[in-house]
Amino acid sequence: MTDETIKTTRVSRRSVLKTAGAVAGAAAGSGAITGFPAVWSQEKKVLRYLGTAVNQADDINKQLLKDTGITLEYISATTDDVTKRVITQPNSFDVLDTEYFSLKKLIPSGNILALDAKKIKEFDNITPVFTKGQLPNGKVIGDQGTAPKKVMFLEGKNSTKFAKGVTEWVTLIPTTYNADTLGIRPDLIKRPIESWKELLNPEFKGKASILNIPSIGIMDAAMVVEASGLYKYPDKGNMTKQEIDLTMKVLTEAKKAGQFRAFWKDFNESVNLMASGETVIQSMWSPAVTAVRSKGIPCVFQPLKEGYRSWASGFCMSKGVTGKKAEWAYEFVNWFLSGWAGAYLNRQGYYSAVLPTAKKFMTEDEWGFWMEGKAAKNDIKAPDGSLLEKAGSKRDGGSYDDRMGNVACWNAVMDENDYMVRKWNEFIAA
């Protein structure tokens, strides 16, 4: 029925324009042209948005529709499945939200389009963490692994080669990023934890956990190996076969000694392990820590002296997107960077790409708590209104500069990925 009505209005509007044109005579041309956008706006603007569920909130969709008239159709999948879908079914989505480390697989496939930086309004305000690998205050941060600056730009519009410096062609316009570390149960550990090496400390035998996602799990393991002083990697995100063997040997020995209670693969598993007390120390993601805490169980996203393992995700388009859809995609990305969405993500503990615009949509207290590491003056609430932190508490790890400034490495796909995956299977079977 709605379709019917829309069609009728469109026809009548067109005929009105025609009549008007005929009457107005010479002015007809210009009149018809200004009339067109009104006709287009009758059409439903829909973008199919493929990504992990991280950024796919209903609230974002609602606000976007209100501000721009664009509706998103969310297609959510695990990181691995997103990659698989881009490579095997590039026409099944319009906008892609994926992690920077996947680009090494996605760009050579030629299935995604680089975005034109000139059409991104806030491009120059995107945090230099992405473009240059440094904080807004100029501090250079760790770039081991697939740091965004290494894969953010292409040499040309249709190029499949990553550019060394800044160009006009952007592989991914950043959406969210964060710095990950270990989650701990301070009530059960009862002493300060300062180093990654504690993950394999026999004190926590049978109470530790690590991710069963090979490319990320091995990075956490590498942080442990370095922290224990066993080896110093030239690049944890791109190990040689010998380095992979060494890392997996350390992990295998720990597994055989019964160090791990379980491995986890999805967000909920990590929350359950920690909340039920099955584990007291494990690799974890920031919102999972929040989820444990919202059950009234103490859990800390512990900053460690060796630094954080960071990740970042961003937008690009499918190669199948052209014409109007492409314009909507740019409109959507521009809206995403214009502040509302950024504030929404910042309030969940992620970081947004354009900080100044997000700041405008947050209260001074919220900004102080999430971004500046200050004690909250009022209770801090989640976007759905539930209580996250009581007044007076501070964010684990402190300010943006403290957290992002201490990034040691980035999620990565190694050159020896194939070998690493085989070794990981061997580790699981050990």
Partner: protein, 294 residues
Amino acid sequence: MKTKDPFTLPAWAQVGPFAFVFGLFFIIPLAFVVMVSFWDYTEYSLVPDFTLRSYVETFEGCYDQLPGLCTILKTYVSTVKFCFLVWLFTLLIGFTIAYFLAFHVQSVTMQMTLALISTIPFWTSNVIRMISWIPLLGRNGLVNQGLIKLGVIKEPLEWLLYSDFAVVLAFVHLFTFFMVIPIFNSMARIDKRLIEAAYDAGATGWQTLWTVIIPLAKPGIVIGSIFVITIVMGDFVTVGVMGGQQIASAGKIIETRLGALQFPPAAANAVILLAVVLLIITAMNRVVDIRKEL
């Protein structure tokens, strides 16, 4: 005489639809899997080729590491071990339940009602049934808390969850039903007069069970066993959740490879798994010829 010719039109019409579905959704995809298992691959693409790379890498180290076991052998030893344990327990429990239903429950209505009751756990999803074990068996779960309060143990038992025990328990819970129904079906068809005859001839209860009932229930036992064994061989979700992702399974290897976009090795592992399952089923068919017995 005409009826002896098996290639008449009605025969083709009868076999046609299933052959079509079977060909389209099983034979052709399977042929693709076998084909892809011999292809080469890069980080982001499949390279049509004929190479044994996926197979060679899968069996990597199997010779060098002798007498130690390589990854793939270790995985299959573990999977076959689960298969055997689960088969044994589901058979014992399933056979007992079926025996009770077939011989101790007199009215057919009651038999059907009880058989339907045993399907109740299947009204919720497989994953939910599995996950519901976790708060029960966990370190601070109901079982441990109960035992500690009763004074039976002082420290919580760690092996209740994320262990071989937990995996077998969940499998038995999930799949005993697949044993009950075929065995019950076979038993229901046993002529009661045979049992009376055995009794009259002076056989004890055990002798009747061993020489009359079990041989006649064999087809049900084998069909149930095929269900259970094929499911357990290919499962990786139950092993993953209940084993805390620390236990290898043939399915998990395939999943990890797929996750890393390495389709040819995933396909090669699928072919190997299929071959192993076919071997097991062939062996079982040697023991009991199902077609003859049915």
